[in-house]
């Protein structure tokens, strides 16, 4: 009886359950991001304290020279499992500018737990000047500001020329070659139309400008063929494949305090894990509370259903 309405609503509901821009975006951009298994995934996910601490070490020793972390305060590091004294000692290793003092002077002092991670550059201009024109973005929210989340950061850090598998490079070359050819064919069709119009005009003795014939593209077979800007580095997972950040991670770039071998992949995963925490520090609270709220609601709704049945049992 109600099929019409239900069917219509089901069609509407489908719109909410599908990623709307999915197919188009996938076709435009390069290879699929490798998906890692993160301990914070899933309804019971939590952060891995060891990985967070290693990630902090990578951030501090490698990334912090270019990238800020302005929404994270030293006191927040308690989440990573550090004690109050450890945090105080950690903060004191940084110098922060404070003031003005009673004489109206700004002064420098060691960091305190309530301070935030200091910015690596005094302003955007200085940041751009030090990085051939590109400003290294603040990393506090990076894991939520890109569609792939932590996988995106891991992908960027491991997406450099010498790090990606050959198959990925080949797929990029094929994809770009195809895109160029498609564009060439479209241009050619347009050119032929214009040429016809031009010929007609010439025949009629009118003045006209001959259209330019598009150039047949060469197949792309190497990174050089991609024609990236000079200051940029190839990266398989960055839109357009040319990123201003030089490869930041190298084998044994940090000496992990817990003895974990510092492979590039390990460091990339740890710092991505850490940045996910930086972006969503309340994730564990949220997922933990969610379970309790849902259990309560399911029971409560069950009671409401029983009550409804009881109230309605005399209505036919």
């Amino acid at each position: 009886m109600r099929k019409g309405l239900l069917f219509g609503l089901a069609a509407l509901a489908a719109s909410a359950s599908l990623p709307l821009a999915g197919p188009a975006v996938a076709a435009e951009e390069g290879p699929a991001l490798p998906k890692l298994e993160w301990s914070f995934d899933g309804p019971f996910g939590t952060y891995d304290r060891q990985s967070l601490q290693r990630g902090l070490q990578v951030y501090r020793e490698v990334c912090s020279s270019c990238h800020g972390l302005k929404y994270v305060a030293f006191r927040n590091l308690a989440d990573l499992g550090y004690s109050e004294d450890e945090i105080k000692a950690f903060a004191a290793e940084y110098t922060v500018t404070d003031g003005p003092d009673d004489d109206g002077e700004m002064f420098e002092r060691p960091g305190a737990a309530s301070d935030y991670f200091p910015a690596p550059f005094p302003n955007e201009k200085a940041a751009a000047a030090a990085n051939s024109g590109a400003v290294p973005p603040d990393l506090s929210l990076m894991a939520k500001a890109r569609a792939g989340g932590a996988d995106h950061i891991h992908g960027i850090l491991t997406g450099y020329e010498d790090l990606v598998p050959d198959a990925v490079l080949q797929s990029i070359f094929e994809h770009e070659t195809m895109k160029n050819e498609e564009k060439y064919e479209a241009d050619l069709a347009e050119y032929n139309d214009k040429l016809e119009a031009y010929n007609d005009k010439v025949e009629a003795g009118e003045q006209a400008r001959r259209p330019l014939e598009p150039v047949q593209p060469q197949p792309i077979e190497s990174i050089e063929d991609l024609g990236l800007a000079e200051v940029s580095n190839f990266n398989a997972y960055f839109p357009g494949y040319g990123i201003a950040m030089a490869q930041p991670l190298y084998e044994d770039g940090v000496a992990y305090a817990d003895g974990t071998p510092a492979t590039i992949d390990q460091m990339a995963a740890d710092v991505s894990h850490f940045l996910m925490w930086a972006a969503e520090p309340k994730l564990e609270d949220r997922k933990g509370a969610g379970i309790k709220v849902l259990i309560f609601l399911v029971v409560f709704t069950g009671v409401l259903y029983a009550a409804k049945r009881k109230v309605w049992k005399d209505v036919h």
């Binding site: 019409g4 309405l5 069917f7 509407l12 709307l20 821009a21 929210l141 309340k282 609270d285 005399d314």
Partner: protein, 419 residues
């Protein structure tokens, strides 16, 4: 369906001076008779009201911590997420609540479309509903600007810029809306003031909406009028119980999204602070605007696009006069039902088109879907009213099963009491 009675002296004292209790009794209590056959589709009206309350409560709490200034807005939202007690919960409820509000109201509207709830004598009720929809859209649009992320800024810019399509006054209107020569601090400030105000305007229109509803009561899945007391049951306890259960189910789904997929319906770019110098690759509005956005971009001419977009809502205002079929419920309209499903699919297709750049196949699909949308309301519905042969209607709600022919006209209606 008794009048209001009480033994409490306090209540009697108040009631004598100001009859709030009998008012409530007649509005949502035992004194308000409702058709006995309302399906779960009739839960969405009270759900919409419930969601509105959630939005107002979380909104006011957020407002206590939010700073409406281009230099501090983004930071203040992050402070709410990180340092305010349960700030993350408040923000995720408010953020996803907007989406759920639209889901609920869209279902509520499609319910009305299917069962012909917009027809006489409920035209004004329907029109007030469309007014609510417009107010909701304005509120949601301005709210999305407040966190001052990339999509906030560029969404505001694209949408306000639409007004530049108005001949002669266009540029002037846009400058006036912005309070300057671009989207900037004055824009953010006025959007915040209006975002705080509009929900209360919505509350006022909801009151009118419900006032109009109570004049004739709810429509029902059969679309025929209740013939007498045997077709009705008191709102309380029957529909209060049923609505409460529906609210429980709604809260389960809502909580699952808030706690496990809080950013699923959002756009990652809005976690990047607004930057007037860096245009995002794709500027997309929130999902609930996508069908309208698709209609806007289906038409290459800016002014005509804007007209079509507003027209897509304007047709809803005149819908009661476009659909002239005397039969309300889609159950008894075999051809209408098919077109109803097509319309629902059409709107979903428009949603997908709106999420993608207006090029190639997407552009053409969008144009066909836009054409179909208007064809449905402006041509199909008026023609169906004339040419469709509806199925025979049951004589009363209590006797919905037709046992052949019109001989049922005088059939006795079953009383409401237990058999």
């Amino acid at each position: 369906m008794s009048g209001f009675q009480t033994n409490s002296r306090v209540i009697k004292w108040i009631e004598y001076r100001m009859p709030v209790f009998s008012f409530l009794n007649h509005s949502i209590g035992a004194g308000y008779p409702a058709p006995k056959n309302l399906s779960y589709m009739w839960n969405f009206g009270s759900l919409a009201g419930f969601t509105l309350v959630i939005m107002i409560v979380t909104g006011i709490l957020l407002a206590m911590q939010y700073t409406a200034h281009v230099d501090y807005a983004f930071d203040s939202v992050e402070r709410i997420m990180r340092d305010v007690n349960f700030g993350w919960l408040l923000r995720y409820i408010h953020m996803n609540g907007a989406s759920f509000f639209f889901i609920v109201v869209y279902i509520h509207m499609f319910r009305g479309l299917y069962y012909g709830s917009y027809k006489a004598p409920r035209e004004l009720l329907w029109i007030l509903g469309v007014v609510i929809l417009l107010l909701m859209m304005m509120t949601a649009f301005m709210g999305y600007v407040l966190p001052w992320g990339q999509m906030s800024f560029w969404g505001a810019k694209v949408i306000t810029n639409l007004f530049s399509a108005v001949p002669i006054f266009g540029e002037g209107i846009v400058t006036w809306l912005w309070g300057g020569f671009t989207v900037d601090n004055p824009t953010l400030n006025r959007f915040y003031a209006l975002h705080y105000l509009m929900p209360f305007v919505i509350v006022a229109v909801v009151v009118l909406h419900i006032w109009a509803l109570h004049q004739f009561g709810s429509n029902n899945p059969l679309g025929i009028d209740p013939k007498g007391p045997q077709d009705k049951i008191p709102f309380h306890p029957y529909y209060t119980a049923k609505d409460s259960f529906g609210m429980g189910v709604f809260l389960i789904v809502f909580a699952a999204v808030i706690f496990y997929l809080p950013n699923y319906m959002g756009h990652p770019d809005n976690y990047i602070p607004a930057d007037p110098l860096a245009t995002p690759a794709h500027i997309v509005p929130e999902w609930y605007f996508l069908p309208f956005y698709a209609i806007l971009r289906a038409i290459p001419d800016k002014l005509l696009g804007v007209i079509a977009m507003f027209g897509s809502i304007a047709v809803l205002f005149v819908l009661p006069w476009l659909d002239r079929s005397p039969v309300k419920s889609g159950r008894f309209r075999p051809i209408f039902r098919i077109f109803f499903v097509l319309l629902a699919i059409d709107v979903v297709v428009l949603g997908f088109v709106g999420a993608n750049p207006p090029e190639g196949a997407w552009l053409i699909t969008g144009q066909i879907a836009t054409f179909w949308y208007f064809l449905h309301f402006l041509v199909v519905l008026p023609l169906l009213g004339v040419f469709e042969r509806p199925k025979p209607l049951p004589t009363s709600i209590s006797e919905p099963v037709l046992k052949g022919g019109g001989s049922l006209a005088g059939a006795p209606a079953k009383p409401m009491e237990k058999a």
